[in-house]
């Protein structure tokens, strides 16, 4: 570090006067620093305390590691046993993918109007805004798995219940994310469109939509990937797809086949990730 540059000396020469005029800025004071430390310290204490309160012991975990190692040992080598089983699992994965795709798409389409209704800068009416927000909250507060259990009772076992379950829970999430994206969009393009004599709708169509499209597209793609995993879970309760097979295999302790199915899910999710990355790049486009 350079000890005595002329600039530094010149700046520090005024120190006393600066300190007089801007005392508060020069010294943030112990209050604000203690506040930060208290929040961090308090958080750490709370976290550790909750381990004791909820009776989570580290020794259970360490003791259980042996059994985890046993299970992993039983998984090798992963195999579907027969070709007919392999085709069965492949079909089930396809079903899981379709559930995720149809559910996500339906949720996204339905969330678009709702997202605009819930955005403060689009709908000025406070009642509409409030109703839209609260209904999105209500839908979102019920998890995918619960929605699956509800829809199984309504439309029966199978993939249709899975699609409806994903659609419902993601509708709430998309609506919220989209309304937030709309609210953070800049007003300047909107002003620009209005200044040309464009309608309020045109201002949204040309001023807001191009701003939120990349954000929304990448959220939808991420949710599709995430829903492929969720669809596995809801399959367990009977809403179609690979999950049913997986839970069945674990129940009868067919670890080798279970490991094979897990690997299939892994490959599928990785493939979706690759594809969605390309799509995202194409949609966002390059600035220049």
């Amino acid at each position: 570090m350079t000890g005595h540059s002329p600039l530094r000396d010149a700046f520090l020469a005024n120190r006393d006067r600066i300190a007089d005029q801007h005392a508060a800025l020069l010294d943030p004071g112990w209050r604000s620093r203690m506040g930060t430390i208290a929040i961090f310290g308090g958080g750490i204490v709370l976290y550790i305390a909750s381990f004791f309160l909820l009776d989570m012991s580290l020794s259970n975990l360490i003791g259980g590691f042996r059994r985890l190692a046993d299970i992993v040992g039983l998984m090798f080598p992963p195999t579907p046993e027969t070709w007919s089983r392999f085709y069965l699992y492949l079909g089930a994965i396809g079903q899981t993918l379709s559930i995720a795709f149809l559910g996500t798409l339906l949720a996204a389409v339905l969330a678009v109007p709702m997202g605009f209704l819930a955005a403060r800068n689009v709908v000025a009416n406070r009642l509409v805004h409030l109703l839209a927000r609260r209904s999105l909250d209500t839908i979102r507060s019920v998890d995918t798995l619960i929605w699956a259990l509800i829809w199984i009772n309504v439309v029966g076992l199978g993939p249709f219940a899975g699609v409806l379950a994903i659609m419902c829970s993601d509708f709430g999430a998309f609506g919220k994310l989209m309304s937030e994206a709309i609210e953070t969009a800049s007003d300047k393009p909107v002003e620009g469109i209005l200044s040309t004599g464009g309608s309020r709708f045109a201002a949204i169509r040309f001023g807001v939509v191009p701003q939120i499209l990349p954000v929304f597209a990448s959220q939808i793609l991420y949710y599709f990937e995430s829903n492929t995993r969720s669809a596995t879970i809801i399959g367990i309760v009977g809403a179609g797809g690979i999950g049913l097979h997986l839970s069945e295999l674990i129940r009868v302790l067919e670890w080798q086949q279970a490991a094979f199915v897990i690997l299939m899910v892994l490959v599928t999710v990785a493939a979706i990730d690759q594809i969605s990355q390309r799509l995202r790049g194409a949609i966002i486009g390059r600035r220049r």
């Binding site: 570090m1 350079t2 540059s5 002329p6 600039l7 530094r8 010149a10 700046f11 520090l12 005024n14 120190r15 600066i18 300190a19 005029q21 801007h22 800025l25 020069l26 010294d27």
Partner: protein, 273 residues
């Protein structure tokens, strides 16, 4: 003294900077002029190593700064402070913190990342703001400021780096004439008062004449003029700026400056409306 030796910056097929050699003595106020796309910005960015030069060397006082990396590179960047056309402040941070980022190369990481700036650093930052008459803006968010104010914050950030040279890339191109004067005056004061070397890209010839004691003209990546401002004749300027000459020479608009798509009569019709 800054010595650039045969520097080129190649992007794909284009040579944005083409075999440029220059030496800038300490304390000089040098203006780099030329039409848009002549390579002025790339030249400055390459000196700060935001762009990697493809060929050639950059020396500062006999030290080769074009081959530095890691910590040494960051120290060189600290010594050649950049000022940008679009200010490049962090809009969501307050003005004081923006200026304090100029102290990053002077401050250990654990302190700066926790925002535990030393009392000296705070005093230096406030003194810099005070010197540019914007100390009262210190607690405000940077994106709430006007363009002229933001650029002055950016100059403060550059100053607290305690640099050896200031590289200003079109510092006034986004500002109105009054703010442009304020910002250029500030740069001139720093140059005269502290003997700070300033290398400044300018589009406007008026400003270049008024503030610089040497002009470097660039065209298509090459240096085509290098002399005192008085030596830049109108003919030389016309050659340097080509189609943009009338615009920068403040001449009366003629048909030649209109876009090709606009018929000659259209402009006068439009103004009559």
């Amino acid at each position: 003294m800054l010595v650039i030796d045969g520097m080129s910056c190649v992007f794909g097929q284009t040579r944005a900077v083409n075999n440029v050699s220059l030496s800038i003595p300490r304390g000089a106020f040098v203006g780099v002029i030329g039409r848009s796309g002549a390579g002025k910005s790339t030249l400055l960015r390459a000196l700060n190593r935001l762009v990697e030069p493809s060929e050639g060397r950059i020396h500062w006082d006999n030290e080769d700064v074009s081959s530095l990396s890691g910590r040494a590179l960051r120290d060189w960047r600290r010594r050649c402070a950049m000022i940008f056309q679009q200010f490049n402040l962090v809009g969501r941070l307050d003005v004081l913190t923006n200026v304090l980022t100029g102290r990053l190369a002077h401050t250990p990481g654990w302190r700066s990342n926790l925002k535990l700036w030393s009392a000296d650093d705070r005093a230096i930052a406030m003194a810099a703001l005070d010197q540019l008459d914007i100390a009262n803006l210190a607690p405000q968010r940077a994106d709430n400021l006007s363009g002229g104010q933001q650029q002055r914050v950016a100059i403060c950030r550059a100053l607290v780096q305690e640099p050896d040279i200031i590289l200003a890339d079109e510092p006034v191109a986004s500002l109105d004439p009054r703010n442009a004067r304020i910002v250029m005056d500030a740069l001139q004061r720093i140059n005269r008062h502290y003997g700070m070397t300033v290398l400044c890209n300018l589009h406007s010839l008026d400003l270049a004449h008024a503030y610089c004691d040497r002009l470097v003209g660039m065209a298509a990546g090459r240096v085509v003029f290098d002399d005192v401002p008085a030596a830049l004749t109108e003919a030389a300027a016309r050659e340097l700026y080509g189609m943009e000459a009338d615009e920068v020479l403040d001449a009366a608009p003629t048909g030649a400056t209109q876009p090709d798509g606009v018929p000659a009569g259209a402009a006068s019709n439009a103004s009559a409306m």
